[in-house]
Every structure is written in structure tokens, then in C-alpha cells.
């Protein structure tokens, strides 16, 4: 009874976590793989809860019943080969149950073949550069002006009055819904990491190396993240904004960008 209500309490805590404040759990995200990642996270979590209930349960019972003040005489046993074999084998079985589905997801994560769109992401201290390979579009994306002003020490601006404080950029990445987007990530200076929780992507951008990541967004919307690898003094001020739009809107955006883009930029 107690256990059941405890479980439902936990389930309640981890269910309705869409609201931003006091958020308790990982977002499910908007790609098939982000949902799979979420499911893996929850599966391992529930295994931990189950193991915890058993181990802590036994321990708590012991703490109450086997105390000197209860007048108990200590037992004298000091080993049991069968018990030790059992509690070595059971964890091995649990680990195998965990490892198999996880490995399946990992294989999918690495499959970046046949993308619809490829974007080269180059990290700089402290901004991002995006280049749409097939469209000849490229631009820098850095912290939006209102956050930039409010972030300074003694700026006199309350961060709570700034929309999406530190999570807004001047030029977001725009991608169409349901398209397979491949990111080719590298860096111009130090190691950074491109991280958007809703896409379940965190990939290091490393000078001299091109890393790959991919996603296929299922839902239109604005998704925010930021640099996840310490990259110097403005590491906290390198947000990422991805706008997922309908395919038509994406085409229109591409055309508009091409119009407005100065010719020199295509050399980048």
C-alpha cells in the first residue's frame, strides 16, 4: 500500500513536467530518437528505483529491528557463498536487460546516411556559424541583444524581464519538419558542444575534426539549447535556437535568405 502510493507519487512527479519552472525530468523531445532516449532514461531510472526499494528496504528494516537497544544478540554468520553468488548474478541479468535495447538505439543514432539537408556547424569563441551546404546560405548566430545587455554585471536589468534570457539568438537555425537534417560539426578554436535537449543532440565540436549528428524533427516549434563544453569566459553565453517550420515556410525562408545574403558571405 505504502509502496504503491510512493510509486504513484513518483510517477506524478515525473509525468507532467512540461512546465518550465521546477521541471523535474528530461524533455521527451520531438524526434523518434529523443523519445527513445527518454525511454531508455526512464527504463534505467525505474530499475534503479526497484533496486533501491529492495536494498534500502532491507537496510531500513535492519536499522529498526537489529539494534542493541532492542536487546538483540548479534548473529555470528559472516559469509554465505550462495547469497553472494545470487547477488552477483542478478545484477548481471538486469544489466543485460538494460544493455540490449540501449545498444539498438545507439546503432540508430550513428546512422546519418541519406540526409535531406546538411548543415555545417562551426563553433567560435563565442558564437555559432551555420552553413547550409546545398543552399549556399551561411550566417553567424550569437546571443540576442536583450540578453547581451542584461548579462553584464551591474547591468541594472532584471533577467526575469528578458524573454528567453541567455537562450535567445539573433539568427536561429531554421529547418523543415520531417526532413532528415545532418549536422557536420567542427570548431575554429577550442572544443565546444552543440546541445539541444529536445533534439537529444549533444555533439562536441572539435578543431581539426568533423563530427556528425542527425535529427528528424516531428513537431513545428522553437527549440533552445546552448554550448555544453567549457569554452572560455563566455561559455555560458553561446545559445542555440532551432526553429522547426513547415516545409513551405522553410523554402520561403531559404529564398529570402538568399536574396538578402551579401555575396562575400558565400566564401565562408
Amino acid at each position: 500500500m505504502i509502496r504503491k502510493s510512493f510509486l504513484s507519487l513518483l510517477a506524478f512527479c515525473f509525468a507532467g513536467t512540461a512546465s518550465a519552472e521546477w521541471a523535474l525530468n528530461m524533455p521527451k523531445g520531438i524526434t523518434d530518437l529523443s523519445v527513445e532516449t527518454y525511454n531508455i532514461h526512464m527504463m534505467v531510472f525505474w530499475w534503479c528505483v526497484a533496486i533501491g526499494i529492495v536494498v534500502f528496504g532491507v537496510m531500513i528494516v535492519s536499522l529498526f529491528r537489529h539494534r542493541k537497544s532492542q536487546g538483540v544478540k548479534p548473529a555470528t554468520f559472516s559469509h554465505s557463498t550462495s547469497a553472494e553468488v545470487i547477488w552477483t548474478i542478478i545484477p548481471v541479468v538486469i544489466l543485460m536487460l538494460i544493455a540490449i535495447p540501449v545498444a539498438e538505439t545507439m546503432i540508430k543514432l550513428e546512422d546519418s546516411r541519406d540526409p535531406d539537408i546538411s548543415i555545417v556547424v562551426t563553433a567560435y569563441q563565442w558564437k555559432w556559424h551555420y552553413k547550409y551546404q546545398d543552399e549556399g546560405i551561411d550566417f553567424y548566430s550569437s546571443l540576442a541583444r536583450p540578453s547581451l545587455e542584461a548579462r553584464r554585471k551591474e547591468s541594472g536589468i532584471d533577467p526575469n524581464t528578458v524573454d528567453n534570457y541567455l537562450r535567445d539568438v539573433d539568427r536561429p537555425v531554421v529547418v523543415p519538419r520531417d526532413a532528415k537534417v545532418r549536422l557536420l560539426l567542427t570548431s575554429n578554436d577550442v572544443v565546444h558542444s552543440w546541445y539541444v535537449p529536445e533534439l537529444a543532440i549533444k555533439k562536441d565540436t572539435i578543431p581539426g575534426i568533423v563530427n556528425e549528428a542527425w535529427f528528424k524533427a516531428k513537431e513545428v516549434g522553437t527549440y533552445r539549447g546552448q554550448c555544453a563544453e567549457l569554452c572560455g569566459k563566455d561559455h555560458g553565453y553561446m545559445p542555440i535556437v532551432v526553429e522547426v517550420v513547415e516545409p513551405d515556410a522553410y523554402r520561403a525562408w531559404v529564398d529570402a535568405r538568399k536574396e538578402s545574403a551579401p555575396k562575400v558571405a558565400s566564401n565562408q
Binding site: S62, H66, K73, N160, N211
Partner: protein, 526 residues
Amino acid sequence: MSGMTTRHGPAKGIGRWLFSTNHKDIGTMYLVFSLVMFFVGGAMAMVIRSELAIPGLQFVHPEFYNSMTTMHALIMIFGGVMPAFVGLANWMIPLMIGAPDMALPRMNNWSFWILPVAFGILLSTLLMPGGAPAGGWTMYPPLVLQTGDAFPYLIFSIHLMGISSIMGAINVIVTIINMRAPDMTLLKMPMFVWTWLITAYLLIAVMPVLAGAVTMLLTDQFFGTSFFLAAGGGDPVMFQHIFWFFGHPEVYIMILPAFGVVSEIIPTFSRKKLFGHDSMVYAAASIAFLSFIVWAHHMFTVGMPLSGQLFFMFATMLIAVPTGVKVFNWVATMWRGAMTFETPMLFSLAFVFLFTIGGFSGLMLAAAPADIQYHDTYFVVAHFHYVLVPGSIFAIMAAVYYWLPKWTGHMYNETLGKTHFWASTIFVNLTFFPMHFLGLAGMPRRIPDYSTQFTDFNTVASIGAIGFGLSQLIFVLVIVTAWKGSKATDRVWEGSHGLEWTVPSPAPYHTFETPPKARIANEAFE
């Protein structure tokens, strides 16, 4: 030439400490040094948590904030936790195995006295142009090469810490292998001695690796090499591989002696022998072995081949098996015992609970796709602080309470001790538990300011941190009043067992000048 005093007692004045070759004096110096560093590193944590209490920058600039996180880690790891365990090893290993001193007493003096120099150098970088190192304690290139004048001092101080650790480790191994009481076979050794023996081998294996890695950073910076510089054909990721080949065994260096401490204390206060002594030894050895083949689980986001990711994931998950054996054995030790709850026992029980929670988040982190979400967020910060603070540090505190009467000859104030325990336990959870939620919501590590949706849990964590910091003043109070308590008996605790309890309290300056009789050693072991 003053006869008895110079032969049997400590030297007078500062010379007693500067030139000491006595394992007890050196152990004391290690422990005091570690406590000082614990407060220095703790003060830096207070700066970090103050800045993070609410969004916006209130106290420090981002570069100094990064220096604080970097220095906090280096000081707590190399100056707080590791020297504390070396101090306990110095004090207790000779007493527990019936040896008169450490095997290499002059080297022992060196191992200690290098440390204040190393940390003097490291702390002096706070005053240098360009500030203290701010590239993270992991020192990833190319970022770390942007450090100002502090850079060579950082490398040199790490070299010194490594030399100190290696010498300490050699001393522990030689002492344990050669100086055990007659009839104390390896498998009869107390768990604390066992875990330290394994730890010492880990230290000797990996500290030179760290020294090599930071030396390559040094030559990349000053001598034109390109080990880690892409522009010269080097590979920044190679540093991460080398660093974590050191770094992962390093985390077990900080936890194995803690396992040993807890394995001493729980049987004492359960009035029952440690359950599965031999399997505890094998479990510790397995953990040590596995620690060498899991390093790249710190690097699931660097773009490793799939086969590499799978290998490191499976190997990492395996660590849960021997770690589980240890936890189950502790619980089995308590089962049907006759427990009492003095302060050392309270800290040890909290260790078992809270270290296990850190172990659970460790298992979650092992699942590579989920790790990609957790990596470099506060979830990881929560995880490693759970295994290090209510893990390693609680074990160190448990050890201090446990053996303090043996060191001072007096019982500490139990009420103060329990107050310290409850305050620490409540605040440590208040500090670090909310960080799990922050990480899952996507707040990265090592940022001085954050988006406003992270405000609530950060405020809670900051309140917890200030509380935890202040609670440690009680610990100091317990220690400075430790000489005022009632006289301690030789056995100190009703359920205590082992050779260290056969010598008087306080332990005389020289103990076991002749090895204990095999019979006594055996009885003490039983």
C-alpha cells in the same frame, strides 16, 4: 643525546613537524592539511553557489567564475580528499598491521612536505596576470592553452602533487607487503588496509599518465610541439583519452579507501564480523581492474566509433556488479547485528545510502544515449558530488570520528558530532539533489549565469550549499574540543576489533616496536 626523550618521544618545536619521520605525526599533518584545503576549496564553492543563487551576474566576472570551478575541483581532489586518505593510511595502516612505522619514513616526510609547496604554487596563480587556471580541472586543450601566466605553474603544481602521491603509494605498498605482523596473511588484512593496497597500485599506474599528459600540454605551449593542436597535425581528443585513462582510476582512488573505512566501521557498530570479507577484497580488485577499461564513458559526445561506444558502455555497466556486491555485503553485515548509532556509524550509514544514490545515477549515465543528454549538465555534477561528498568525504569524517579517540586519548563530544552529522546530511542533499533536476532540464555545467527557468532549483541548491559550508564549522569545533572529553579506553568502542585497538589511547609515539604476537594479532582479527 638527551636519552629517552629523543629516542622515544617527539622532537621539540617546529622541528618535530618539519623533519618528522613518524607515521603518526605525518598522518596528523596530512589530515590537518586536508582540512585546511577542504575549507579553501569550500570557500570557492561558496563563491560559485552565491553567484548561482539567482540569475544575472552579482558577484564575479565569468573568467573568475571559471577559475573558481577549476580551482575548487583541483583543490578538493588533490588537496582535500586524496591527502585525507593518505593521512588516514599513515596513521592507521602501521597500527592495523602491527608495524612500527611506515617502511620508508624519510620519503614519507617528503611526500607530505611537497604538498604545501604544490598548493602554495597553485593558489598563488590567483594573483597572477590572466588569473588562475580557468579551463576546468580536466585541462582540455586547446582551451587550457589560453591560460595566462598561471599555465606553467598549474602544470608544475600538478607534477608535484603527482610525485607526492606516487611516493605515498610506494610507501603504502612496501609497508603492507613487508611489515605485517607475523601470521597476518594477505587475506587476513583489515579491509581498510586492503582497499589502500589496491588504491596504491592504481596511483602508481595512473599518476605518471597524468604527468605525461600535462607535460605534453607544456611542450605544446612552450616548445613548439603539436601533440594536441590540430593545426600542427595533433589531436585534441587524444588528450581527453589520456586524461581519462588517468581520470577514471582516479575516481576509484578517491572511493576505494572510503569503502575500506566503511567496512571497518559498520562491523564495529553492528557488533558483527564484516560479511564476506574475501568477496569484498575481490570486489575491490575487480573495480580497480575495470577502472582501466572504462575511461571513454566520459567522452560519449566526442564522436567515437560505434564499436568503441558499445565497448565502453558495456564495461562501465559491469562496474555495477562488484559495487553492488559491496553494498549488499554492508547491508548483510548490519543484518541481525546489534547496532548502535554513534557518529562514525551515522556517517557510514549515510555513506551507504547516499553513495548508492550516486551509484544509481552512475548506472543511468552508463547508458550511452541517455548519457548524451546528461553529459556536461548538472546531472553529472549531481552524480559525482553524491559519490564524492556524502561518499568519500562522509567516509573521511566517519574515519575521523572513529579513530579520533585513539589519536587524542579522549572521547569527542557526541552531541556535537551528531549535530554535525544531521546538519551535513540534510544540507548535502538540499545542495546536490536538485542538481539532478537542473541537469535533466538541460542546464549545462560550468556556466556563471543561467536561463531563468533554472532559477528555483539553483536557489535551493545555493541555500543548501551555504548550510553545508557552515555545518563544517561544527566539525572544527568537535576537533578542537576533542582533548576535553572523557578519557578513552584502549578499545574505545564496544564492538571494535583489530590491532589498532590493542595499543593504548592515545596511541604512544612509537607502537609495535616489537611485532605483536601472532596470537594477539589473530584474536584482534577475530
